[in-house]
Amino acid sequence: MRLGFNLLFGGFLTAVVILAGALAPWLAPFDPVLGANLMNAELPPDSEFWFGTDSQGRDVYSRILYGAQISLTVGIVSQVINSVIGVTLGMTAGYWGGWWDDLVNGLTNVMLAIPSLIFALAVMAVLGPGLVSLLIALGLTNWSWTCRIARSSTLSLKSQGYVLAAQSLGYSDLRIMFTQILPNMMGPILVMATLGMGSAVLSEAALSFLGLGIQPPFPSWGSMLTDAREMIQLAPWVAIFPGLAIFLSVLGFNLLGDGLRDSLDPHMRTRKA
């Protein structure tokens, strides 16, 4: 029953992250930004500061709870953008074919030729750091695989009886795409989006770690790790806990995505066994 395990454990981790982010104002014992107090700087974990304090004397536990809000926002919003772009381009390309299909294919190939972190970095370089830039950068980066899947699903769904029936009833192209084709390929698109959330959280952490994403003093897990290198020997907890938070939430999204794929695709199940 490993398939069930992926879905359950992944779902559990994701739920914990969502709850942590949503309930941060009530769960966090200290203010994540204004709670700075140099008297408390670099204290090891104890009963008051569960995960210790950072160089400014801020409670690492409280900052991690608030950091969940940023990671979730980035993960979810960027994947919604990616899915909308990928599905729109892929579905129309597959359905209409012709020059539009060639154009979309060419664009997808170009996007696949640029490593996604590099493309995100270029966009961040232009837009400057911050949450909105991050959402745009990561939302524009990862749609090519979704687009490919949407296109190939559309190609195979296009010749199905119910689509032909809808065509002979005189439905408009857009109506056919959105009511007949889209619902039937939601499974793989959902899987891609879930797995993409994990990689978006990783990219956000990496960009913020490089100082190009969320700016201090706002508590992003990646930017919390930026100073960690300098103080890792004296205060290793500053490095350990935010990284653990990134790891567990990405693991949650990845397991959830794997689990969804396994349960949506019975073919995979028999092959894996």
Binding site: R2, G106, N109, V110, A113, I114, P115, S116, L117, I118, L121, A122, V123, M124, A125, V126, G198, L202, A205, A206, F209, L210, G211, L212, G222, L225, A228, R229, I232, Q233, P236, A239, I240, G243, I246, F247, V250, L251, F253, N254, L255, D258, R271, K272, A273
Partner: protein, 311 residues
């Protein structure tokens, strides 16, 4: 084979041109002028005359299409422009940094192959075993791990606590400096390779010709060696190729963390100071690298698997 090779190599050119156009367009929509942002420190405004002179010097006052044609024409002659900051040719700056990046990416890939492929293979031969379960849990964890965090933890353990290895820097280029960054960077391709190898081998194992081989009384070792390994190789090579290309992208963060003097840390530093010609140049070189490796992989597996050529 030769025609196939030639066609694949020629396909790189249009992609590079489109990528160059894309990069050019992205950096042309920057609000405000480069020169102004280059000199503003947030408190005082730069001297307008100085800005005008810099703008003219780099040809930034010309119309967009003219700048694009100059850009492409320069590219065709392998001229990537001049850095705003150092005033050195970008190609020279990249050349100084690229080999360290290549070294790091290669080391990371070797680490990933040497551990990931055998692990995936063994896991697939005994599906459901303890080794298989542990490998697969390890693989999904490896894919979820921020590489730079793993790097930080290894730095803490192996460099600061145990004092076995230098914690960062290129040093005199010795192997000891390479170990930690290569392992941190290699963990993602390692996890992916273990996963794809396992999936590929399992796939082959369930196919008809393996059943036939078993049925005609071939020993397990011979089946694995003669049939399974060869057929799984195509998938493994594809993964290695794709990962090798994106490694140099992922290396950006690891290079920064370990103060590795590669093209990735050059890119990050240039983004931070908005040295646009260097940013454009490094991105283009990274993309070119990615395309060349993918093409090589295509050629390699066309040689291994003749079926691919015909498609």
């Amino acid at each position: 084979m030769l025609r196939f090779a030639l066609r694949r190599i020629l396909q790189i050119i249009p992609t590079v041109i489109v990528v160059a156009l894309l990069i050019f367009v992205i950096f042309s929509v920057v609000p405000g002028s480069f020169a102004a942002s280059l000199f503003s420190d947030g408190r005082t405004n730069a001297d307008p005359q100085l800005i005008a002179r810099i703008t003219a010097q780099f040809g930034l006052d010309k119309p967009l299409h003219e700048r694009f044609f100059t850009y492409i024409w320069d590219l065709a002659r392998f001229d990537l422009g001049t850095s705003f900051r150092t005033r050195l040719p970008v190609i020279q700056m990249i050349n100084e940094r690229m080999w360290a990046s290549l070294e790091l990416a290669t080391a990371a890939m070797v680490f990933a192959i040497v551990i990931g492929v055998p692990l995936g293979f063994l896991a697939a031969l005994r599906p459901g075993s303890v080794l298989d379960t542990v490998t697969m849990i390890g693989a999904v964890s490896g894919l979820s791990l921020p590489q730079f965090w793993l790097g930080l933890l290894m730095m803490l353990l192996f460099a600061l606590h145990l004092n076995w290895l230098p914690s960062f820097g290129y040093g005199d280029g010795s192997f000891r400096n390479l170990i930690l960054p290569a392992m941190a960077l290699g963990v993602t391709p390692l996890a992916l390779l273990a996963r794809t190898t396992r999936a590929g081998v399992l796939d082959v194992m369930n196919s008809d010709f393996i059943r036939t081989a078993h049925a005609k009384g071939m020993s397990e070792t011979a089946v694995v060696r003669r049939h399974v390994a060869r057929n799984a190789l195509v998938l493994i090579i594809t993964t290695v190729g794709l990962q090798f290309g994106s490694l140099i992208g992922q290396a950006v963060v690891i290079e920064k963390l370990f103060a590795w003097p590669g093209i990735g840390s050059l890119l990050v530093d240039s983004v931070a100071i908005r040295d646009i010609p260097v940013v454009q140049g490094t991105i283009l070189v990274i993309v070119l690298w990615f395309l060349v490796i993918n093409t090589l992989v295509d050629l390699l597996y066309a040689a291994i698997d003749p079926r691919i050529k015909q498609e």
